[in-house]
């Protein structure tokens, strides 16, 4: 109905005399200018703060540039340096990938768990929701400082409490084997964003489907597997992809935790190696900072930036392919 109507409209438009045609063209130009006008802030922003620096990053990745002398073309030397000679590249890439896999997986599972729990609650929902949500709001630096204190091996409350019940607590941020799991704990404390997303998704699952499953004699697991899961997969997908992208940028918490934890044991004034303890918390973004802003090795920093960019783009393309809701409601 709507289609045939618009078709008729278009045909009458075709039949209008030449004057109308010019009018139509003028309207089109006006529409185009209007669109350009509305988009202009972003068009400028996109070219100046995204397009230009991206091209410049590629340019600098082939240059030797210490930010004082003029850049000098060195071909692929920065690239081979980063991939074959830079000692921290391996650990940084490994840590970033470790965090991407473990942190994202645990956060998604925990987020679904907490979401399920809160939707099952019959009383005190408001209280529980707030309790689970508020830690997400703690500024990352503040949350990290708090966790380094809480997990302080010698005097931190967590190990005090563990000792009281007869458990010898680990060294948390001061032990290379425990530092990344400690960061994961910190990220699980800030589960609030995923909880809200999953709660909304879980409440959207049609009730009749649960009732039908129950009539068929499905137990709790079968109901989750065959009713809940298919309904929330798009949101899970969304959470995974955004989680991967966020974790690839993982910077503040790892840096602050490493710095503070090292200060506690070696004392102030010591030169701090990035990624304390034993490079176990250095991530690719930290390495970009280290190279570009502390070693003034612009070229190598740009190579690493591009590695990060390539991974981010690959994930984004995956996101576009799979229907994860980002581009939905397009029309």
């Amino acid at each position: 109905m709507a289609l045939s109507l618009s078709g008729a409209g278009a045909r009458t438009g075709d039949r209008t005399p030449r004057g109308g045609d010019a009018l139509l063209r003028r309207k089109k130009t006006r529409d185009r200018l209007r669109t350009l006008g509305f988009l202009s802030p972003w068009l400028v922003g996109f070219s100046v703060f995204f397009g230009y620096p991206l091209i410049a990053t590629v340019y600098f990745s082939f240059m030797h540039y210490n930010q004082i002398k003029e850049p000098e073309f060195v071909g692929l030397r920065n690239w081979s340096y980063v991939f074959t000679q830079m000692p921290l590249f391996g650990p940084a890439l490994w840590n970033t990938l470790w965090l991407v896999v473990v942190m994202v997986a645990l956060r998604v599972v925990f987020g679904i768990g907490i979401g399920l729990l809160v939707t099952k609650l019959k009383s005190g929902v408001g209280f529980f929701r707030t309790a689970f949500y508020v830690p997400y709001l703690a500024p990352p630096v503040a949350a990290t400082v708090a966790f380094v204190f809480l997990l302080n091996p010698a005097t931190g409350p967590v190990n005090e409490v563990l000792a009281a019940i007869g458990i010898d607590g680990p060294n948390w941020f001061n032990d290379p084997a425990w530092s990344k799991p400690s960061l994961v704990m910190l990220s699980l404390w800030g589960i609030g964003d995923l909880m809200v997303i999953f709660m909304a998704a879980l409440l959207d699952v049609p009730k009749e489907q649960y009732e039908a499953a129950e009539l068929d004699g499905a137990g709790p697991w079968a109901r989750f597997r065959y009713v809940t899961w298919p309904n929330i997969t798009p949101i899970v997908m969304f959470a995974v992809v955004t989680g991967v992208v966020q974790t690839m940028q993982y910077y503040t918490q790892a840096l602050v935790a490493g710095k503070l934890a090292s200060g506690v044991t070696i004392g102030p004034g010591t030169v701090i190696q990035p990624g304390y303890p034993d490079h176990s918390t250095i991530t690719v973004p930290q390495l970009v900072y280290q190279l570009g802003f502390q070693n003034f090795n612009t070229g190598a920093a740009c190579v690493l930036s591009l590695v990060l960019f390539a991974i981010a783009m690959a994930v984004t393309i995956l996101l576009m392919r799979r229907k994860s809701g980002l581009l939905s409601a397009e029309d």
Binding site: S123, V141, N159, I235, T242
Partner: protein, 312 residues
């Protein structure tokens, strides 16, 4: 559990409600089956709520420990004790009197408020065009917005820093972080667009019929209707700026006068390496504004978080 069904239904006691419902439904069957169903419901209620309570405790305890330590004496804060022997509220005053602390507050506020204002003003028209105008390249534009959104800030930081530092001599200030926000922020554009899609086209069409120009339509009709979405975007941007650590580290590190709270806190810790009490007080003082803002704008915030994911 032996209370008759009728009275449990009227009692507002939280535990009784599901029991009453189950019993009423089961009363058609044998009384024994009804009792059994009631018992499983009660057990289920108890199980779910105890798990939730234990977890909630784990989520809240960090705040409690941080607070308790923040009011301890210097020497006690270094011990492993959990409860303050004496309450030292003056720790908070000490934090405020730390050189620089008030300046960091001012800088954080300036960054967050200006950043939010710029972002909202510049992103609304872009989001509107992407949501409601039909033009060639609309899909491409949207793809580019999403790509920008997904990009780690570290990818482009090196050349951007060189431009701000060498061409504009603005390193040592927060302006290199604030100025780009006047040119649209990808994440805000994306969120606003998602929200604007939910506003029916008819509103714009009727405004157009009434002779409203596009800009008037946007300001008079759309913006008032999109207030919840705008509020959510503003909140997110405020929090982003307030929490930002990487940005200030890149551009403001050389100049302590331009530090923000998020950046300053770590140096505060380094300067007071043993004063856990002062550090914890400072930590709470940085968390406070964000959490207060949240409680005042809870609805907008939760709506915004939902908006990011649930347009499926």
């Amino acid at each position: 559990m032996t209370t008759p069904t009728t009275s449990t239904a009227t009692l507002p006691s939280p535990g009784a409600r599901p029991v009453g419902g189950a019993a009423r439904r089961a009363s058609h069957n044998s009384p024994a089956a009804g009792r059994r169903a009631r018992r499983t419901r009660v057990l289920h209620w108890i199980a779910v709520h105890s798990v939730a309570l234990a977890l909630a405790l784990a989520f809240v305890l960090p705040f409690v420990f941080v607070f308790l330590t923040s009011v301890m004496s210097d020497s006690q804060a270094m011990s492993g004790e959990l409860w303050p022997a004496s309450w030292h509220w003056e720790n908070y005053a000490k934090v405020f009197h730390t050189p620089g602390f008030l300046e960091w507050w001012r800088n954080s506020l300036m960054y967050a408020l200006l950043g939010t204002l710029f972002t909202v003003c510049s992103s609304i028209p872009v989001a509107y065009a992407l949501a409601k105008f039909r033009f060639r390249g609309r899909r491409t534009a949207m793809l580019l917005v999403i790509s920008t959104m997904m990009l780690p800030p570290q990818v482009i930081v090196m050349p951007m820093y060189l431009v701000w530092a060498q061409q504009f001599h603005l390193s040592g200030s927060l302006w290199p972080l604030i100025i780009p926000m006047a040119f649209g922020d990808a994440y805000s554009i994306f969120l606003l667009r998602q929200f604007l899609l939910t506003i029916p086209k008819e509103y714009m069409e009727s405004a157009r019929v009434d002779g409203c120009g596009e800009l008037r339509t946007l300001l008079r009709i759309i913006v008032p209707m999109a207030k919840p979405g705008i509020a959510a975007v503003a909140l997110f941007q405020f929090f982003y700026c307030w929490n930002d650590y990487f940005g200030p580290q890149i551009y403001a590190a050389q100049n302590p006068g331009a530090w923000t709270l998020s950046y300053g806190l770590e140096s505060f810790k380094s300067a007071h390496s043993v004063d856990w009490n002062l550090t914890m007080a400072a930590t709470l003082l940085i968390m406070a504004p964000v959490i207060i803002v949240f409680f005042f704008a809870q609805k907008a915030f939760v709506e915004g978080v939902t908006l990011t994911g649930v347009k499926g």
